[in-house]
Symmetry: C2
Subunit: 423 residues, 2 copies
């Protein structure tokens, strides 16, 4: 197949005309498909149904240390749930704080507390400083960017490379004491699906930051979300930080949202003992304790990391198939010189880069055909993709059949938008 | 029985000596009893066990509007849970936001947001103002006071009367624009157990506040927690606020912590549409959504307010008995001129006022005999009871037998401390 850039004007017109005719046929079908949402579909959630199907007796309401999980008590999580996260992630139990369902809430709360009270190393609450800045690796996760935007930070964009954030640029930016932190999704990053290299993790742990209270928000959301036994390996950032004496720099998060239930899973944060100690009085003012029964449900269902892994391999069979459908469909764009995309070994997204100036047009064309895509720009700070070229594809929510159809239309609209641009 | 104040020095010495001998006998028993914690005991929690004993099928994971509660989605609560709270409290559904398990978290988050972003009517975020103050009705709930203390407010004490806060004083204080709000537990107040009179509710809704963004934190924690069919009646503050055009003044909270499970219930906040609208973007930055499965569990178990009421009457049989034991024991102090206490129609606490300067001594004596009381001063701002006279008795957690024994010792130590003071 010829590259589109090599087509003559006439060839472009002919091709465009044929594709538009095809597009009109899809339009007539009045479809309603959705590739926008990075959420599991109900079949996937059914794999975890046994977690909910226990008829719970009184005896099964007590944690291993004898606490009635129905009652008040325990701010930092029941021991068996801490142990499970510790086992899954290779993090010391004493670093771990178990929350409610949303790790996003733990992240927002961490930064909201930093604004009001500062963190270990702060000279004053962050809300008493002017002109604060935050590093956003883009394309990245819109809800991360949103938190720091709402809290009043200026968002600084650093490009994502195949190995993680462009570290030369990061190391340069952190020389500014107004730069207080960075958002990271280090494994199967949202939306690019790549995993930070060992070197990137090391440089993040090691770099000299001008702000004495610089923080890495390490959202390891897809820590165990491999499509096969050969998943990506991520270096343990706590181990690296310990070597370089920067342990307090790390706030670490994950949840079972995409292991068990997005709406009713268990989230956790992990941080150095000094950080946990600084946080605890504020956390104790905020809540009497998170939902322990749900922690117990999870810890009783998964005895250890191996149980979680076996479960994730079941999910991988379902999710992997959706990624296969997605990537097979994209092959039709191969060699046309108009698109590049990621082929992740895990996670929830495929990131698709088009010719500059084509993303919004594809979004509109898809909308016209009844397929919802993630808003263009959502993966960039302030919701603006400077080159208007990135699309985030979320293949997990539709059924296989719906996904297949939506991807055919996507390929078609990418071709149309590219030809229009080249014409 | 003679008043202790009328005893001669010799009579005091004789009585004290007899009581101390009795006290020594208790000490020898190496007891370990706890009257400090306003939490249900496990028998009480068992009444709700059917809520947990359902073996949940996939079909039972969907809310009435078709949302899979296991998945992402819905920030403000599932419709059936909003309706249940609406029915229980007489609040419009559109005012209601359903949270996770802890209403305390919703309260802290409300004020933390006010600090960072202000509220409807604010000229700037509260953290940009200096010298902010907050009204605390005392004795009151320590965790309320704690939130405003941590957030940097100066705490202003207003005495609790039998009808609620001393409103003359409140109306005077709110003439100061630095006074941003007041904590209220309007029904079966913690720890006094009394309920605000209609007049007090009206005056709170009606009063002229100098701060344009003054807020009443209305923690109706014991809204349905009557000991009998003849519970206290509380005026609906939203109805009153509507009459006086002060709807935005009210932030209203409750939870099922003491209906179902303190560790795994469902909390809610209610506020005017303008308040909800102002909050929503920040809430949307903080979380994708609270635990919907737990909302569903609750809404499926309680179809309406009548179901809740029937359930509360079952709990009342257990809790009422504990209050009977407590109040019967206290009768031994009747007529001695050394103590006054409340006789609530619901809630979780009895408030016991001693002779000034006796509370800490009783706490110490109780501790010596192996009985834990709530820390003296906990019910006052900054943890300081200016007269050192108030004790909060929490009868629900011990067994009936333990409670009976603890109360005998309490009566004894109150007598001892009072006689020591009078000697």
């Amino acid at each position: 197949m010829k590259k589109y850039q090599e087509l003559t004007k006439k060839e472009i017109e002919a091709e465009l005309s044929a594709l538009c005719a095809e597009y009109e046929k899809y339009k007539e079908q009045n479809l309603k498909l959705d590739l926008s949402r990075g959420k599991p579909n109900s079949d996937q959630l059914d794999v975890c149904l046994p977690l909910l199907s226990e008829s719970r007796s009184r005896e099964r309401c007590f944690s291993e240390n004898g606490v009635d999980c129905r009652n008040y008590g325990i701010l930092d999580g029941i021991p068996e749930m801490k142990r499970l996260f510790s086992d899954m992630l290779g993090i010391k139990e004493e670093y771990i704080l178990v929350g409610d369902n949303a790790s996003l809430q733990l992240m927002y709360d961490t930064l909201s507390r930093a604004m009001l009270f500062g963190v270990v190393g702060s000279e004053r609450p962050w809300c008493r400083e002017e002109g604060l800045k935050w590093i956003c690796v883009a394309p990245g996760y819109d809800r991360h960017f949103r938190i720091t935007e709402v809290l009043g930070f200026e968002l600084l964009t650093v490009p994502m490379t195949k190995d993680g954030p462009d570290m030369d640029m990061v190391e340069e930016l952190v020389k500014d004491p107004k730069v207080k932190g960075i958002w990271c999704v280090p494994k199967y990053s949202n939306p690019t699906g790549n995993t930070y290299s060992d070197e990137v993790v090391r440089r993040l742990a090691k770099m000299q930051c001008a702000a004495p209270d610089f923080r890495i928000m390490w959202d390891n959301a897809y820590a165990v979300h491999d499509f096969s036994e050969n998943g990506d390996e991520l270096l343990n950032i706590f181990d690296e930080a310990e070597k370089y004496g920067t342990l307090d720099r790390i706030f670490y998060y994950t949840s079972t949202s995409k292991i068990t239930f997005p709406g009713a899973g268990v989230a956790m944060m992990a941080a150095s003992p000094a950080n946990i100690k600084q946080i605890t009085p504020y956390l104790g003012a905020q809540t009497i304790g998170y939902d322990k029964l749900n922690q117990l449900r999870h810890a009783q269902y998964f005895k250890n990391a191996e149980d979680v892994h076996a479960h994730m391999m079941k999910l991988a069979a379902l999710i992997g198939k959706k990624f296969d459908i997605t990537l097979e469909a994209l092959e039709a764009l191969d060699g046309l010189g108009i698109a590049e995309w990621t082929k992740p070994n895990g996670g929830y997204f495929v990131s698709l880069d088009l010719l500059p100036g084509c993303a919004k047009r594809v979004f509109e064309l898809m909308k016209g055909a009844g397929v919802t895509l993630t808003s263009v720009g959502a993966t960039f700070p302030y919701g603006i993709d400077p080159e208007d070229k990135n699309l985030r594809i979320a293949p997990t929510y539709p059924t296989d059949r719906e996904l297949s159809l939506a991807m055919q239309i996507l390929v078609l609209t990418v071709k149309i938008a590219s030809l229009e641009k080249l014409a």
